[in-house]
Structure formats: structure tokens, C-alpha cells
Symmetry: C2
């Protein structure tokens, strides 16, 4: 018989991984809810008409497509078959797996435009699927964790995002990180400043690599792309700039004097900082960074990216403001701002920094162990008391040697066992053993409940 | 532009549905964890070699298959195409979507047999996909919610299942329901008793319809299937039996005297009842029902089914003991017992009985409304205080007419608004309005936090 296996690029999450993932996700969700975000879930399958064309040509190739049910060949002809995959594809598949959470969100907004109360704050935590070549840290099924506000231009939303990132990281115990912020208008202003507004895309793509290839590398790439020596001369001090957020704002104010986009971008950022100030937020983690570009994405306003310092894993959170979420589905004018957490990366960071609290990932607090069927049955009353007090507990279900029962407790990382023999049963004084320290206590069932709950 | 749509048989879950579903699922999960069950998640996609042949011929047809990525036709030839779907299918698809949670669980156990600590208690709450014809209450994507213990024959697990169902229903506020219990050995004994052990399958299938087609219907079907008049004569009092669990046990003891399977089935049930007794469980909801069959499934021991009385929706929970979870993957001897909740049906029941508590499905507790940018900005300090006290709150982000802001609060079902105008800002005495009663209070920010947290 063939041994069963997993499709490549996919994973099982066993009890330990699950409890750790839940620790991360529950903390994120709690913060989303506290900030007024409401949950949304969309189906795994979407019509291909919804998905295709939204992620570029490369993205279309990475969609997992569902074969039509039943006689899937019925719409095809031998000549379609001869023409090959491109001719066959639309005839045998109608649906695909969700590739991200943004397009399904946009579809939801368009389909429910009359029922949604705007501004609409939604969060969505669901897996997505991409037929990418699997490699370390890259999977074909992975969770995304998005929060967006649509239907408002208020920059309070940007301030809220920074607050939420800070709060989530505080709960997770991550203390050394940087939230980088920039503004698309400042990037456009920069392109204008160097007299290359038509080459803004090339500029952003190159600058986005600053972390990876360094200043020299970026300048090299810009020269190759035909940026002038004058342009590079203006850009160099931008790349070299070191200073506080305030100093950077002053530097930019000088740089972009008379450039409308630059001025409006600076005004937005000042406004966000002002809101944060009223929130009494420690801005310690926030770093303005005029070289942050976030690829060639659909953002139009402020953009964010969070990195954990001294952990080489890339950004663990990112987002920004956009002015057109749903135009592609025929509903223009829906602007908003959103961000997401990279759950797999956060997991790896937490593991590397040894931040998962043992308590939070332990599920069972006590195991009842016993010497006979009679002792075990007696233990059920104790078990009921524990559970009634909301203590997660179990009884070793089989009649087995004590050693086997204790091994089970150790393997399952259960911190306490309650030992019930005939003496204990008669006296009502049970033995509570702390599996970590080895300490033992003689206590009544009620005293044990008192101690463990 | 084409209006975007959902694939048939799939659904979006918007904020209200999500909060209600979460209310159900969180309560179930809390109980699972309290009883020592640990979470597992498996990928949406499984290799077809894992899925096919596990759900019968009909089930295989209902699998959603993923088209191979890239040049999916490369393993096919024109003659395959001419032969049609059955020849093409295995050449262009390797993966399918999860059809249930049991087969992936079995695969997981087999693949991780050396790392799992048995007895292994796992719960799993994930969507499954079936290419069924969609109809009212039947979807192509729906959640399953399973808990199983494998690697033990202890009947404490059965008692635990009954305890868990009771506890979940208590949390959900469902008070009028019946947990039906039977035992496969009793069904076999019944077939033996009527001298038709070879026709046990036909007997179970017919009896399973008792609720739907009534006693006459079942007897009719049995006669058609060739059961003798003598057999029917023995079965009639079984179908007619009315009495307590104790009376039914006595009745069966008489009926199955000398039939080994009958005696062992009765012993099991007595044992389960004894454990429940030690748990001090109200057995009020438990009904022995010798006509319960649960289809032709893989169960071999006790079986359960829960119905909500006076709600015509079928069973909302079911399960039973099996003696071979993983044999199909080459790992024999893994016995266990499991059950699941039907989340969609529970949702419908809760809705029909109006059981969703308003409080539990409300996410945001307070909205700050304001008359100017300045008032709004001042409100951020208040908002911070609320959130620091774990009160879910938001500020209306735009500068808008008060009426618009209050309409937003009403539509989003936010119970309190905090009104900040110039007077409030100057005096620090804000207006807290209860949106339900219309009552207004003049309070400081700290007093408001005190009242709402």
C-alpha cells in the first residue's frame, strides 16, 4: 500500500503548531475587534472571472484552478485539444482557489454595496493558495490576515493601523521592531524633483531594493535604467539621510518646496503624526523612510512596512492607502486603507526569539492517573469538579501502569497530575503532583480545584 | 463590465453571520479544549491518492479536483482525449479538495504515528468541499467540526462525548433536545435474533428511516427486501417500545439473552451510563434508541445522534466508535470514537429559536461622534482610554453631520455613542448616549470608561 503523503508546499498543523498559531492569531484578532473591525469570510473557490486579470500575467499562472464537475470535456472539441492548454483552460475550468483576500473583499463590497454601512472596517483571516514553486518559507497554502477600512479618507485610519501594529507586537512580546512609513505622493514628488516623472515606476522598484542591494546597488540600477547624473546627485542625500522623523520632515519640506505632491504628502504625514500624538502613542517604533516603496502595488497614499530588527526574515506586516479598491468590478470611488500581518513569518520570528509563552500554548492543565478501574471511576467526580471550574483536564482513559500514564502526561506537557489510589480514594486526600518540580501535595478534590483554577 | 458573482453553493459570511458563527464555534472549541482535545488543521488540498476510494463511488464523483499547474495536458495523448473524462482525469489532476475531516485525520495519524502520544485527542474545525447539487441547507463549501479520541477502547470517551454535547448546548442556550444512543452490536444482535445476520445492512438502512417514513414504512421496506413475517413479528415490539432507558435495557436483556453481541452491547451501554453517573451528569437528555442506525458507516460500537426537539432540521450532532480508522492507509488497529457538530444546522436552529444573544454578537461597544476636526482629535484621547480598558470602540473618522454619525452607530448596532462638542471638550464632561433607551449622561472620560468596561 502506498504511503500517504501531503501535496508539496502544503503543511499539517499539529497540536503544538496550532496552539502557537492560535496564540498569534487570537492576539491579532483581539486587537482588530477592539479597533472596531468586523469579521468577514469568503469562499475558498471564486469564479475565475473574478480572479483572472487581477494579479498580472504571472499571477494568473499561479492560480489553482478547479476542474469542472461531471463531464468536464463536454464544451471541448478535438481541435481545442490540439490547440493545447490555453484553448482548453477556459472550457474545462470555471472556478479557482482564492489567491489573496483583497480581490474577494472587493467582490464582497461590490455585491453588498447596498447593505454595507460605510466606512466599513473588515478583517479577514483565511488561507490563500498559490501554485508557486515551494521553497523555504514559501508555501502553496498559507494564511493571510488582512484588515481594511473602506469608504473614508480620514487619516485617523492610518494612525489606527500604527496603533494596532504596536499593540499586537506588545501582546506577542516582540519589542525590537521598526514600522517604516512613507507616502506614495512623496515618491511621485521625488520622481518629479529629478525630472523623471515618467520613470517613477523604475525609481520605486530600484529604491525598494535598498535593504537588499545597498545604496551603491540602487544607484547602479538607476544608471542602467538611464537616470541622469543630476538625478543621482539629488537622490544620493535622500538615500544617505539619517535623522529623526522630525528632521526628515524638515529635509523633505526643503526638498519638495513648490512640488504640490510633495507638500500634500508631507501634510498627510504630519496629520498622521498629530493623530498619534493625540493617541499619546509612543512613536518610538515609527520611522519615516522615503526610500520605502512597496513594489508597484495599487497604493496611492501612506504606505507601511514593519520589520523585526536583527531577524533576517523580511517584513512581517505591510499595507497602505489606495484610492480604488473596486473599480475593476465596476464600482469606482471606493478608497480605503488596509494592512496585513504575515502569520508564517511572525511564527518564525517568535520561534527564533523564543517568544512563545509556555503557559499560553499549553492546553491541558491536569491529568488524573489511577491504579484501578475503581480508582478511575472515582476520579470522574474529581474531573467534573475541575471542568466545572473551567480547568482543562482529562483522565487517563485506560487501565495502565502508572509509568505509562505519567509518560503520557510528560509527552503531552501536562503540568499537573492527580494520583488516585485506594488510600487516596478512602481518605479523600488526593496526591497532586507538579510535573515540573516533582513536588507532591496531599489535597482534597476541592483544594485541588482551588489551586488549579 | 460583468457583475461579480459567487460560485453556486458557496457563501460569504458577513459581519453578523460571522459573529453568530463565532459564537457557536467558540463555545464548541472551549468545550473541546476543556476536555483535553487538541487542535489540528490539515491542508485544503490532498493528493487524490489519499481521497479517492474512501467515500464510495458516489463520493469520488463529488470530489472537487484541482487541475495540474502549468502544461496540464503534457501527460495526455489524443487517444486519451478521445476516450473521454475517465481516461483524462488521472492524467490532468493530482490533487483534490478535502471532502471531510476524517480521511485527512487518518492520513495525519499514519504520517505522524511515531510522534503522536496515544490516546490522541484531536479536534478539527475546517471547511470541506463537495460538488453536490446545491439546495436549501446544502452547500458546496461548509464547515465540519470534529472531535476524536484514537488509541483507546475506554468507554469513558463515550461518556465524555455525551458530557460535551450537553455542555455545548447549555452554552448555546438550547434546552430541548435529545441525544439518541445505540450500539452497533445491538443492531447486529437484532439481525441475528431475526435470523437474518446476512441482511444486517438492509435492516439498518430501513430502520434508519423510522423518523422519516414511520413504522409502517419501515416494515413495508423490510417486507420488500424479503424479511420474513416472523422477523417482522419480532421487530414490531422493538419499534413500538416506549419506556425509560432502564426499561429499554431490561427489554433488550430479555430479547438478546444468549446472543453474545447483544450481551456485550448492553454491557457497553451500562458501562457508559455508569461513567455518566459518576460524572453526576443529568442523563435527562440521553435516550437509548435501538432503531438508531446512522447509515452504513464505519462505526462498530456505540453510536450517537442529537436532535433538537420540535425543530425539523435533522440531527445537529452525530458520531460513534470505530475499530479501524487507518487500515486503509496500511496502519491497522487504530480504534477510537468521534463525533461532530453540524455548524450550519446549529446556526439555523439558533436562528429559528431566536437564541443568539445580542450581547455576544455585538462587536463594537462605543462610537465617538463629534462636531469638528478639533473635537474629533480631542476624542482620540478618550478612545485610547476605552481601548486600554479593553472596550471595543471607534471614532467616526470623517467630519460629518451628527445625524450621519448616529445613523452609522445604529446601522452597526453600536449600543453607546459618546458625543463631543466644544462645550464637552472645554468642560471635560462628555455626553454618553445609550442608543437603545435614548438616555443621556454627562460624564468624564474616566467615568465613561468605568461604565463601559
Amino acid at each position: 500500500m502506498e504511503k500517504p503523503s501531503l501535496p508539496k508546499g502544503t503543511r499539517d498543523f499539529g497540536p503544538l503548531q496550532m496552539s502557537r498559531r492560535k496564540f498569534i492569531l487570537n492576539n491579532i484578532e483581539k486587537v482588530f475587534i477592539k479597533y472596531g473591525f468586523q469579521p468577514l469570510e469568503t469562499p475558498a473557490m471564486e469564479n475565475l472571472s473574478v480572479l483572472t486579470g487581477k494579479y498580472g500575467e504571472e499571477g494568473d499562472k499561479l492560480l489553482f484552478r478547479i476542474l469542472n464537475s461531471g463531464d468536464f470535456l463536454k464544451k471541448t472539441s478535438p481541435s481545442d485539444y490540439e490547440q493545447g492548454t490555453n484553448a482548453m483552460l477556459p472550457l474545462i475550468t470555471e472556478k479557482g482557489l482564492r489567491y489573496d483576500l483583497t480581490v474577494p473583499f472587493a467582490r464582497y463590497v461590490v455585491m453588498n454595496r447596498n447593505d454595507i454601512t460605510f466606512p466599513f472596517r473588515r478583517y479577514q483571516i483565511q488561507p490563500v493558495w498559490r501554485a508557486d514553486r515551494p521553497q523555504k518559507g514559501r508555501y502553496r497554502e498559507f494564511y493571510q490576515c488582512d484588515a481594511d477600512v473602506v469608504g473614508t479618507d480620514s487619516l485617523i485610519c492610518e494612525a489606527d493601523i500604527i496603533m494596532m501594529i504596536n499593540e499586537v507586537f506588545k501582546h506577542l512580546g516582540i519589542t525590537d521592531y521598526t514600522i517604516k512609513m512613507n507616502h506614495r505622493a512623496l515618491l511621485s514628488a521625488l520622481a518629479e524633483k529629478i525630472n523623471a516623472p515618467d520613470k517613477a515606476g523604475d525609481l520605486f522598484v530600484a529604491m525598494d531594493k535598498l535593504d537588499k542591494i545597498g545604496k551603491e546597488g540602487v544607484i547602479n540600477e538607476l544608471q542602467q535604467k538611464g537616470f541622469s547624473a543630476d538625478a543621482v546627485k539629488i537622490l544620493e542625500p535622500v538615500f544617505n539621510f539619517k535623522g529623526s522623523n522630525k528632521e526628515l520632515l524638515n529635509f523633505m519640506e526643503n526638498l519638495f518646496k513648490g512640488i504640490e505632491k510633495g507638500e500634500s504628502g508631507i501634510a498627510d504625514i504630519r496629520s498622521i503624526l498629530n493623530y498619534l500624538n493625540h493617541y499619546r502613542s509612543e512613536a518610538a517604533y515609527l520611522n519615516l523612510d522615503i526610500t520605502l516603496a512597496r513594489g508597484l502595488s495599487y497604493y496611492t497614499g501612506a504606505i507601511f512596512e514593519t520589520v523585526v530588527n536583527n531577524v533576517k526574515i523580511g517584513s512581517v506586516s505591510g499595507g497602505g492607502r489606495y484610492d480604488d479598491l473596486t473599480g475593476v468590478f465596476g464600482m469606482p470611488g471606493v478608497s480605503g486603507v488596509g494592512f496585513s500581518f504575515g502569520v508564517d513569518r511572525l511564527y518564525d520570528v517568535m520561534e527564533e526569539l523564543n517568544l512563545f509563552p509556555k503557559e499560553a500554548t499549553r492546553s491541558v492543565k491536569a491529568l488524573i492517573v489511577h491504579f484501578s478501574e475503581n480508582n478511575k471511576t472515582y476520579g470522574l467526580g474529581v474531573l467534573k469538579k475541575l471542568r466545572d471550574a473551567q480547568v482543562s483536564a482529562e483522565v487517563y482513559p485506560d487501565n495502565a501502569k502508572l509509568k505509562k500514564q505519567l509518560t503520557y502526561a510528560n509527552k503531552k506537557d501536562i503540568p499537573y497530575v492527580i494520583i488516585i489510589g485506594d488510600n487516596e480514594q478512602e481518605s479523600g486526600q488526593l496526591t497532586l503532583k507538579n510535573m515540573g518540580s516533582g513536588d507532591e501535595y496531599n489535597l482534597s478534590a476541592d483544594e485541588i480545584v482551588e489551586k488549579l483554577h
